[in-house]
Amino acid sequence: MKVHEYQAKALLAEHGIPIPQGRAASTPDEARRIAADIDGPVVVKAQVYAGGRGKAGGIRLTESAADAEKAASDLIGSRLVTPQTGSDGAPVSKVLVEEASDVTRELYLSILVDSASHLPLMIASEAGGVEIEEVAQSSPERIFRCTIDPAIGFQPFQGRRLAYGMGLTGGQVREATQLMKSLYRLFLDKDCSLAEINPLGVTTGGDLLAIDAKMNFDDSALYRHKDIQELQDKEQEDPLEVQARDWGISSYVKMEGDIGCMVNGAGLAMAVNDLIQYCGGRAANFLDIGTLNNPDRVVNSFKMFLADPSVRAVLVNIFGGMARVDVIAQGIVDAFRQMDIPFPVVVRLAGTNLDEGQRILTHSGIRFIEATDFYDGAQKAVQAAKGVTG
């Protein structure tokens, strides 16, 4: 799960990490008042989940409260198109109005979980303010890493190593070590999957300041962080994906084709999408119904296909294991009974309780195209989407 910059910064501040003075505004008027309180040059920053806001015009330096109001007025309600959004851009409903900080250097600092060592990994660089992947490509020697062993926690020696690596000296080293320790604490406390401060500014006074921040959270751990769940801004997501989640389908990704897919298992769902493309078609979505044995989830998947105007045919591919085929079959029948299904539906079933599943489908009298295996299913779905009757 992602959050906005202003929310990430609030979490940093709660953990004692210095951030610029400022607040989020939902209206130009509010932005003006915040800028007036700050009394000096302010930055007005569009709050969208995507990065690359600067070059896209989403970050404005303004000299007066009136200018800040003007900038906020431009941004709020617009859609910001950055290299990380699609061509539609992301909707801006809030701006962050902050004091403009004079920084002499821009550093980089982040923590994530490293899959090689299975440990939290802290990454620091003196080359902040740009994407760290670019630095990693062009000058890997400017990136310093420390894994953090939960047996000992974050240790001062690691802070010093990274701080010296970032080119800090004197009292800054201790300050940076303290900041890293706080960031690690925050990372653990909130089950982050990424906590990134980029740039971490060095002010003209020599102090450290989190100029921009990005935080992602482990979806599997959200159940123990109600406060983080509440930060979610659904406006920033694909409306169909939000809809899917509301209907209990957590593994739905909108794609660009016309064949609606319902599959059990993420690997199989990916493979089915690959196979559709191999057969000359394109999937409208990735949809893993998971292992819950609940026919409502199947019904809701059909609701998703109806909600997606690009769907021209549906492929249901279920290989029962933990999921039981009879339950899925009942869900398909329920869907046909509860709504009008305007597109051809190809069904391929296999695995646990297959016979009972097939019996349910056959006896229901619903109209569907039966497939014998998933290659057959993919081919029939591609034909169906092209209007060729299977």
Partner: protein, 291 residues
């Protein structure tokens, strides 16, 4: 011979009295697996599906000499369950549970380091050595005993692949689901090493997917340490970057995570690549025939 589980496996089920635990314990028993004990705290002393239930793993092991544990424990309690299994020293722990927080798994891995237990999963279908032992949630009937090892990050895709093999008369030595999480207990390389050392495995089918670099590490091992042929398919060629495709680990975050990169690495290492998932059976057949 097989790897991980066989006719001598004495299985313990953590979370045996839960609905999924019950359902799959019954399927394992039907398949012929020797399930010797279950663990559900607070239900020690009772029986479930004819299996004695204990309050703790150490007690279950000391009383039943269980040598493998399978976990059907809800995600919030699963790490504690795995740690309990590790602490009790069980040689093999298979965690089916999906959705364990990553930082819980960081602790599990730290605790695992230096211990002799092998962890398979979490978020996996388990392990089956056909006609000997099923310790997982896969459909038993689609499997056939034989000499092809299968290792996969996926669940249902593996069932499909195994069905293809079986329908072509190609039996399996052992099928291992390593799971779709970002921090799996066992990697492709870990399982490939076991297959390489298993005299009755002649060839291996590897089913990878987007995200992480596990397939690239497996490619290194295939090139340097593997004498047996490997047939590979990598799912997710059509997946967009930056989107989590169901599995926690199935997300393209850097170029290494793309299916194309993984396929390139495996191909270069000498694996036979299947262009689509329906080709895994036929390709394996050809590879076996050419040996």
């Amino acid at each position: 011979m097989t790897i991980l589980v066989n006719e001598n496996t004495r299985l313990l089920v953590q979370g045996i009295t839960g609905s999924e635990g019950s359902f799959h314990t019954e399927r394992c028993l039907e398949y012929g697996t020797t399930v010797v004990a279950g663990v559900t705290p607070g239900k020690g002393g009772s029986q479930h599906l004819g299996v004695p239930v204990f309050d703790s793993v150490d007690k279950a092991i000391s009383e039943t000499r269980a040598n493998a544990s399978i976990l059907f424990v809800p995600p919030a309690f699963a790490a504690d369950g795995i740690l309990e299994a590790l602490d009790a020293g069980v040689p093999l722990a298979i965690c089916i549970t999906e959705g364990i927080p990553v930082l819980d798994m960081v602790k599990v891995h730290r605790y695992l380091k230096g211990r002799s237990t092998r962890l398979v999963g979490p978020n996996c279908p388990g392990v089956i050595s056909p006609e000997k032992c099923k310790a997982g949630i896969m459909v038993g009937e689609i499997h056939l005993s034989g000499s092809v090892g299968v290792v996969s990050r996926s669940g249902t895709l593996t069932y499909d692949v195994v069905s293809q093999l079986t329908s072509l008369g190609i039996g399996q030595s052992t099928c291992v689901g390593i799971g779709g999480d970002t921090l799996p207990g066992s990697t492709f390389t870990d399982i490939l090493e076991l297959f390489e050392a298993d005299p009755d495995t002649r060839a291996v089918v590897l089913i990878g997917e987007i995200g992480g670099t596990m397939e690239q590490e497996a490619a290194d091992f295939i090139r340097l340490g593997m004498t047996k042929p490997v047939v590979a398919f990598v799912a997710g060629s059509t997946a967009p970057p930056g989107k989590r495709m169901g599995h926690a680990g199935a997300i393209i975050t850097g170029s290494a995570g793309r299916a194309s990169e993984k396929i390139k690495a495996l191909e270069w290492a000498g694996a036979t690549i299947c262009p689509n998932p329906a080709e895994v059976g036929p390709t394996t057949k050809k590879v076996l025939e050419s040996m």
